[in-house]
Amino acid sequence: MKPAEYYQRDRKHHPPALSDDYKTSVTRSPRLALLSVENTLSEITGPVFGHDDIDPADNDLIGNYRHDGDPIGERIIVHGRVLDENARPVPETLVEVWQANASGRYRHRNDRYLAPLDPNFGGCGRTMTDENGYYFFRTIKPGPYPWRNWINSWRPAHIHFSVFGRAFAQRLITQLYFEGDPLIATCPIVQSIPDADAVQQLVARLDMNASIPLDTLAYRFDIVLRGRRSTLFENRLEGN
């Protein structure tokens, strides 16, 4: 039995293209309806990456831009599993992350926030999930930072995540937030997600069992990608 299409994406579970409080979305959101296209080979396939594509040390953001010492800030491990909507692990898939440093500053030519760069922190990493869909990073907890939306808008501390899955239809970019951060409730980007339970899926939980005593705290963050039908019947795809 070969699987076929990916489950229809539940767009009510995602932020709408236009969310007025997130001002940049106003001119960057399509006004016309999306065209719904049943999956073809173009959507059920996607790029395949291997361990040769990355370096094993790329998942250590404490070490991958070190020049004369460790970066400043709270040392944390972020770990979890990439699953699909059928609760099956997604093995051997590429996970990429990027983030600000402990003071809320990105190493990016367009970031002009007055907080300092850290000479020992780059702020990007990547890894492949293992055969059980498990991944982990070591990094510094990012700081919150101000941004131009309302006059006094601050992003909660967050880490950007990019995940591939096995199909172009599963491609996803999202952000991890930290349990207990009071800025989550006031952020127009977070609150563009209409469903409060969906927001909770983006909140990483403090995981004392995974922390390293006298060294590093840990947060747990599982990611769910679209799942896939398994059926022999009706409307089968060419080639299946």
């Binding site: 994406r9 959507e43 990007c124 990547r126 990608l225």
Partner: protein, 203 residues
């Protein structure tokens, strides 16, 4: 988060933000960290078929260029085979068919070089015209936008393409067709909103 049938819910999307380049194209953000950045080489030197370059710009609802956009593309090789185990065929060594491009921070112009894809199988025995699948993310885009790039010099194939034919307003089909500037050079402008808004896909 499980529903009553035990299914998990997909993790909700969030915008890639203004600093997406740090994670996905750090060299472009202005610093070197990885020996190998992913997505620069799309087809590889051994790929067969016509070498092409595609240039374009993404503009917002006011007509201004989007200068911090990142586009991923996914395509078959010249024989219409994707570099994926379910595609049922072999591709040339080094052919991945996937790429990443970012716009110029000053002009918003972007470009990529690859080989022109072949026609690929569609549903129920149909043939899909040669096309490149695109996924567009940027600050202000809450969930990546999917669309397709077709080729103006594939008129006959485009006329029977099942996806183009799903577009009810026929004049809007042109928003998915790259114009041919000269041999091997195409232009594909994407309009997020407003007049001539590009057709985006819910796949």
């Amino acid at each position: 988060m499980r529903d009553k049938l035990g299914y998990l819910k997909e993790t909700p999307s969030q915008t890639a933000g203004p600093y997406v380049h740090i994670g996905l194209a750090p060299g472009a953000a202005g610093f070197e960290i990885f020996d190998r950045e992913l997505g620069w080489e799309i087809a590889g030197p051994q790929a067969r078929g016509e070498r092409i370059r595609v240039e374009g710009r993404v503009s917002d609802g006011t007509g201004a260029p989007v200068k911090d956009v990142l586009i991923e593309l996914w395509q078959a090789n010249a024989e219409g085979v994707y570099a994926h185990p379910e595609s049922g065929g072999e591709v040339e060594p080094g052919f991945r068919g996937w790429g990443r491009v970012i716009s110029d921070f000053e002009t918003g112009e972007w470009a990529f070089e690859t080989v022109k894809p072949g026609a690929v199988p569609g549903r129920n025995g149909a043939i899909q015209a040669p096309h490149i699948n695109l996924w567009i993310v940027a600050r202000g885009i809450n969930l990546g936008l999917n669309t397709r790039l077709y080729f103006a010099d594939e008129q006959a194939a485009n006329a029977t393409d099942p996806v183009l034919n799903l577009i009810e307003q026929e004049h809007r089909r042109a928003t998915l067709v790259a114009t041919r500037q000269k041999k091997g050079l195409y232009r594909f402008d994407i309009r997020l909103q407003g007049e001539d808004e590009t057709v985006f896909l819910d796949i």
